[in-house]
Amino acid sequence: MKHAATFLVLILLFALPVVVLALVSLAPGWRFPDVWPADFSIKGLIYLAQHQRQILMSLGSSCLFSLLTVLTTLLMCLLPAAVFARSNFSGKALLEGLLLAPALVPPMTFAMGLHFLFIKFSLADTLAGVVLILAMFSYPYMFRSLVAGFQTMGKDYRLCAENLGAGTMSILLQVELPLLMPAVIAGGSVVFLVAFSEYFLVFLIGGGSVDSFTGTLFPLLNSSNRSLAAILTLIFLCLPIVLFLVIDTILVQAYRKKGMI
């Protein structure tokens, strides 16, 4: 009985919105006072098919800059995370606090100042500019995750590889990175989600020339035809889930091949 109550709350809060979105996407004319849609139509789906190209383009563009953001944050954080996990130096706690700040302070505060710089260096309205700004405020998640990953891994693997004569690069790429994969995935999924769902920063720095899924969805939210917005929101929900499942499967297979699990 106690568990049933917990479940009811979970479902009302988190699953019901999805059910309602699915209904709205099939019933554009669902209005007060109907508790259940009076009639269903596939107008939303037809519209989706008509604007297929534009929607797929923006979806692709969003995926591209989000994945590039994950890659950028990984490159930025890999070596520094190793330093933070393995050595103590004076001012480490302060530096760590400072480095986590971009995820806490409102991103507008530095992004709008940077906009000026990006215009000067013609980074505004480019993919590179969007990736840089997204990486700048999402890297703390990758950083935290990698530091934890390095700490769990310990120093032994590295020492062992060093004793066997491996160079710095081959230790990093062949020994440490495969072992760090769970941490990379954990940090990377958060960075991906943050980048994928951001509206304002992409709009500010991308200025309309970098397509984004949020940018396509936004004007539809307040339009009279809600079903298209509902369909796009459902796509929003499914795409990351599919992506995570694919990555998970690929990784499990890769580890099996190497005999690690």
Binding site: V105, T109, M112, L114, L117, Y199, F200, L221
Partner: protein
């Protein structure tokens, strides 16, 4: 010496972008708030924009409104998230998988969460329909205009819905490392469920609650996406105010937009410092098990 240089080199992939993009970005915001490096040459004193803001009651209204929306939504999200996480943690293993539905709002972008709130809570929305069906209201006009009440209720609902799973995630991470024997001992000694929750479980969860509150509070305080969908005109959130000044007014008002951002930035930094100091002081007196 070589040790230090080696460390600096290894830290550089993070430190350099940090200095150029983050510190540089904040520096440029500060500069523009003083009228330096603005698109139009700034006429007048360096502190004009600040003087204008501080003399404007609308700015303060907007500042405290943002503060209120952020504080209420972060508090609600942390409380709901903690209770739900505790209950989900107690679920039998077979049911635990089904409880993963709580991750849905984590994946949804902020603007979609705002859209969900629109569908449910607008005057002709689902909640109104259900209320009508139950006979609570007779016509459309009987339903309170929650989204445009001037209290930011729509935004609070959206931020709470988005923030609850986030704090659940943080709390759950701590709960999985929690020693169940402490609860078993307390039960054997006759402690009630509530007493166990408040005196044994809650103190252990404190770090996650504090982190969650700081992150959610500051995010809602300065974010743009949800207010842009659910905004009420007066008093608006600060971010909407900045957006209007930046994009919709003429360039001469750029320093004002930047001055608001500088004030937001300083507030965020001061808040983090003050909050962690207070938490440290409170916890230094607590006996650790």
């Amino acid at each position: 010496m070589s040790w230090t240089i080696k460390h600096c080199l290894r830290l550089s992939p993070l430190i350099l972008p940090y200095l150029v993009l983050f510190c540089g970005g904040v520096f440029l915001t500060v500069c523009q708030s003083f009228g330096i490096l603005t698109p139009l040459p700034h006429e007048g004193g360096a502190l004009d924009a600040y003087a204008k803001l501080l003399a404007d009651p609308a700015f303060f209204a907007s500042f405290f409104f943002s503060l209120g929306v952020a504080a209420v939504s972060a508090l609600l999200a942390v409380i709901t998230g903690t209770i739900l996480a505790y209950r989900v943690w107690q679920l039998p293993r077979q049911l635990a998988t089904a409880s993963l539905v709580y991750k849905i709002p984590l994946i949804l972008p902020h603007i979609s969460v705002a859209f969900v709130i629109l569908i449910f809570w607008s005057p002709s929305g689902i909640v109104a329909s259900v209320a009508h069906w139950l006979g609570v209201i007779q016509t459309l006009h009987d339903f309170p205009n929650l989204l445009y009440s001037g209290w930011g209720i729509g935004m609070i609902l959206a931020y709470t819905l988005k923030g609850t799973p986030f704090s659940m995630l943080l709390v759950m991470a701590l709960l999985f490392r929690f020693d169940v024997r402490q609860i078993q001992t307390a039960t054997m000694l006759g402690a009630s469920g509530l007493r166990i929750f408040f005196t044994i479980v809650l103190p252990r969860l404190a770090p996650a609650l504090h982190t969650g509150f700081i992150i959610l509070f500051l995010y809602s305080f300065g974010a743009f996406d949800i207010p842009y969908v659910l905004s009420e005109s007066r008093p608006g959130m600060l971010s909407i105010h900045v957006y209007n000044l930046y994009f919709k007014h003429d360039l001469a008002r750029r320093p004002e937009a930047m001055a608001i951002l500088v004030i937001m930035f300083c507030f965020a930094v001061l808040f983090i410092i003050a909050y962690s100091k207070i938490v440290n002081r409170l916890e230094s007196g607590v006996r650790k098990l």
